[in-house]
Subunit: 138 residues, 4 copies
């Protein structure tokens, strides 16, 4: 079963997110990637907020980013989030940030699904199928 | 009943907390004040983590800060946190940040106590009395 | 001379901005207010990024917020930023955050203008006049 | 030439750093690693603040973290930072976070050295040798 899905969001970089070098701080990128995942879920008919409320929580098991070019305050960047693999145990995403068609970073995360007590649980079925009307690509 | 209590903590300013001007970002001060409150509680025998676990949560109802002089990356500052008033409905704290005896800011917050559903509840009795051995000043 | 100006922006609350209570952390509000100021400047033909590059920097001299109702992860809130007073020495802004027409907080800041060395300088003339096409209200 | 060096710091997790799950947010770990690097430099006689002031800036070219067990508000964790490789072009660090002897995460970063304009420059000689009295291990 294919699970390739992707979404694109625009983000304007905030002053408070930039460091004394004037660059978007490297830790902040991971908050952006989380925003990308939230929007990708939404696009497929899921609200992560509701999932958490019903006891389906995702934790980041692994995260990696390669920083190619700096990002600055007030830049409007494009974040491309792609769900590249879903198994019963984990979800893998890839990310790219672009500005004017130039790739500024590449990243990847692996999520695991846990219950409210932090115990691993299988990824819910609903994440294997997409919502009617989503831009799911098989 | 007096409830004046104070504590002093040292904080080294992190790179990620500073903005493109090279200054500690003005929003971050409020995280420092929260650290001061946590340590003041601890000094009086309370762990805020345990209070939350048992359903006693504090929310900030009002916060104010006057910024006198900038604070920079790697500065070691002294935060003085003082509990200036406790009623059944609220707790008021004052704060000062100093470096080398020079006052860099002055601030104040008002907390209210809520339960897990966010409903206001009276401040617990235990916060009106201090722990033996604390530096409670009557 | 009147300097009343206002702008409205929508912000979706990020997961990383919320605390263990599930609420937008009270310090984060001040980052939102800064975003409001940036957009208000832009609406009047100024890019704060360019102002900083040419040596006109604004520092927050005072900030205050009254928190009326909590804001949660994934909420889409409306931030209203209003420039209420400009003198040679300072700029005052007021802020409100609303959701579904309900006011969630009220806040105020005072900015001062400094040069690259942190020395106070007069607010530039250009901030006293507004850009053609802005929604400047006299 | 060997450049293995390590340092250990204790960090108490702040409330504002934790997310609605009650865990230290995964992006925040990278701020901790940066603190580790700053202290490792200091231990070897360097202040990163002074290096930046003289035009030697480090940027993160790559960062990765494997999250084994969650970290919670008010936990006191131990961060072990190790400089594992220095070449003319880059510095590699490894990191571990422990609590009560249990490893909670493992991470790695690669830094590059740039000048004030963001152009790559060779890693300064002084980072290849250690300060007398440091716990440099050859």
């Amino acid at each position: 079963m294919s699970s390739t899905q992707s979404c694109e969001i625009q983000i304007r970089v905030r002053y408070a997110e930039c460091d004394p070098m004037g660059y978007l701080h490297h830790a902040k990128y991971f908050e952006y990637f989380e925003m990308g995942r939230t929007e990708l879920l939404r696009q497929n008919g899921h609200a992560y907020r509701d999932m958490e409320a019903t006891g389906t929580l995702f934790v980041v098991a692994r995260a990696e980013c390669k920083y190619h070019k700096p990002i600055r305050y007030d830049d409007v960047i494009t974040l491309v989030t792609e769900q590249v693999r879903v198994t019963r145990a984990r979800i893998d995403h890839h990310y790219e940030i672009l500005r004017n068609g130039i790739r500024l970073c590449q990243a990847a995360t692996t999520l695991a699904c846990v219950d409210r007590n932090g115990s691993l649980q299988p990824i819910p079925d609903s994440l294997f199928t997409s919502h009617p009307g989503s831009n799911y690509r098989s």
